[in-house]
């Protein structure tokens, strides 16, 4: 099957600082090679600063790679940016492009004109998209009077305005309430299912989103792709491992548990409301769980419960990187 998006050994280095002494060099992408097939909904999963947005910006022609090459539908994003721009669109979560003084419908019409969509077709498209994202009732409302969730939904609608062949979604549900996020996810999935020639590259740090939506997921960490496969295949990687979830009272620095023999990786979250912590530990062997229990008790932690949940993509990330996404 033809590749819709392809990167070959793409690296991107950022330099900041004006003098040689103050120059800071950050390698945002390090030798990234991925291939996304036509009709695929591909997820890029990684923590903040992993390089997801940098890769999307390169593919959207906003940024040049320091080395390597990237192609969208066979067009080089550096040498043939003009062609690439005709067939793509991008939605960045948390951004609300548009003009506050214009209405929601006017804003979408404005963006439709940047793609040369003609009069009645543009108006019909705007109406359909507003209906899709649940903003029909707000079409005549000025954008500066919308809630941030509504603005984000309008932003998502903008991304579909030109019915792009390849759509880049950079954390599209960031800041959305649960229902809106679910609605948007459903629309994205449907859009690809109904039009098999479309391709979506979605970046997220929400595990469930990647798991629910994506045909394949690439896990990116510190600018490198550390794994790339179907969500089920990725989760199978940790099936021969054991995932334990410890709920403990209070909070603490559990990093030292990594020193326990047989610990592949761990992450923890402190819940302020209940003043409890959830530790997720990926172990090489079930027997190691008792060593973890002992280590926790030895440090004065009170264990409230221990469970062995089904592996998730977060467990895959912990298994690969040694720590959680947050």
């Amino acid at each position: 099957m033809e590749n819709s998006v392809e990167t070959r050994n793409v690296s991107r280095i950022f330099k900041s600082g004006k003098t040689e002494r103050s120059t800071r060099v950050v390698k945002a992408l390090d030798d990234v090679s991925i291939s996304i097939r036509r009709g695929e909904l591909f997820g890029l999963l990684g923590p903040n600063g992993a390089g997801k947005t940098t890769l999307i910006k390169i593919l959207c022609t906003l940024l040049l790679p320091t080395s390597g090459s990237a192609y969208v539908r066979g067009h080089d994003v550096v040498k043939d940016a003009g062609h690439v721009r005709k067939i793509i669109n991008m939605v960045t979560g948390g951004e609300t492009p548009g003009y506050g003084i214009l209405t929601v419908a006017e804003n979408l019409w404005f963006f439709s004109q940047l793609y040369g969509i003609r009069g009645d077709i543009a108006k019909r498209r705007v109406t359909e998209l507003l209906d899709t994202v649940g903003l029909s009732d707000e079409s005549a409302t000025r954008m500066n009077r919308l809630s941030s969730g509504m603005k984000q939904r309008m932003n998502v609608a903008r991304g579909f305005i030109n019915d792009p062949e390849v759509l880049f979604l950079d954390e599209p549900t960031l800041g959305l309430d649960v229902l809106s996020a679910k609605h948007i996810r459903g629309y994205i999935r449907n859009w690809v299912n109904k039009q098999p020639e479309k391709t979506v590259l979605l970046t997220t740090h929400y595990m469930a989103e990647a798991d629910e939506l994506c045909d394949r997921v690439g896990i990116i960490h510190e600018g490198r792709i550390v794994a790339c496969d179907k969500p089920s295949s990725l989760k199978a990687m940790v099936r021969d491992r054991t995932v334990f979830q410890f709920n403990v009272a209070g909070s603490g620095d559990y990093e030292r548990l990594k020193a326990v023999k047989g610990v592949v990786g761990l992450s923890w979250t402190h819940h302020i409301e209940s003043d409890t912590s959830t530790l997720k530990v990926v172990l090489s062997d079930q027997a190691v769980a008792s060593d973890i229990e002992s280590a926790l008790r030895a440090s004065g932690s009170r264990i409230l419960s221990v469970t062995t949940p089904e592996p998730t993509l977060e467990d895959v990330f912990i298994h690969l990187v040694g720590k959680g996404l947050e």
């Binding site: 906003l62 793609y115 040369g116 019915d163």
Partner: protein, 274 residues
């Protein structure tokens, strides 16, 4: 949804120009109070100059010079604060990324901003002009209205092309360029002779002023509207304005391209508050 029929490059760019113009004009129309303040407040400064000239017993046409200059200042301010800073503001509000990934000429986007800006500022300038004429009873001696229109259009074309050049500089240098605007505002009021004819300036200052397109435009418009000159008497001005327009337009296109390539390479196109 039905498949979309896309237009060609030329139509797409024309649609972009119209859409961006629409934003400017409709946006201003929804908050019309600016027109009142932007007309009334500049009249205070203009009045001060008119009264100074009257106290000095300056020739009567000086009142007309001041009013015409005051109306043209509106365009200079629009270029300096709106046109030049527009791409910078588009970046700050998150609009720049969607613009840059769209298959459009950046010049089309700037052209739309310019046309919208010209429309709004013309209303403002007409307001200043009308109030000035009514209050100070300025007399005009227009022998060749078409020449006046030609010079006016060429002046705006050159001035807004300069604004397009500024826009690309602002895009890359953000707040640093912002300070430069402050630096440029008053010296250009002075050098372009907004409140007096530049022929009264020392020769070397006149030479310095000649690099500013509005200096020529303003002088020619004054000659036509107030001193009754015809096209032949301002032909040099027209020639210089055409050269300014073409050179600045070419520079704007080149600089936009350069700044975009530089921004893509440095990663500065989408960085905020730099």
């Amino acid at each position: 949804m039905k498949p979309i029929a896309y237009s060609g490059d030329l139509e797409r760019n024309l649609r972009t120009i119209i859409a961006r113009t629409y934003v400017r004009i409709v946006g201003s129309g929804r908050e019309p109070s600016w027109l009142l303040w932007d007309t009334v407040l500049p009249m205070l400064t203009l009045s001060a100059y008119v009264y100074v000239y009257r106290v000095m017993n300056a020739p009567r046409e000086f009142t007309g010079f001041v009013i015409v200059g005051g109306a043209m200042i509106a365009f200079w301010l629009n270029v300096l604060w709106n046109m030049a800073a527009q791409l910078y503001w588009e970046k700050e509000t998150g609009n720049l990324e969607p613009f840059l990934i769209a298959p459009i000429s950046r010049m089309a986007m700037l052209m739309g901003m310019a046309i919208g800006g010209i429309f709004n500022t013309t209303l403002r300038a007409l307001g200043i002009f009308a109030v000035g004429v009514f209050v100070f009873q300025v007399e005009f001696l227009v022998a060749d209205p078409l020449a006046a229109l030609l010079v006016f259009v060429l002046t705006l074309a050159a001035l807004y092309s300069l604004g397009m050049v500024f826009a690309s500089v602002f895009l890359m240098y953000g707040r640093e360029a912002w300070h430069t605007s402050h630096l440029l505002q008053e010296p250009i009021y002075f050098l372009s002779g907004f409140y007096f004819p530049v022929k009264f300036l020392p020769f070397w200052l006149q030479v310095a002023a000649s690099i500013i397109p509005v200096t020529f435009g303003l002088d020619a418009i004054r000659q036509i509207l107030i001193l009754g000159a015809g096209l032949s008497e301002v032909s040099l001005h027209v020639g210089v304005l055409v050269i300014f327009w073409l050179v600045l337009l070419f520079m704007a296109k080149w600089m936009l391209r350069y700044m975009e390539d530089h921004g893509r390479s440095e990663g500065r196109l989408t960085l905020r508050w730099q």
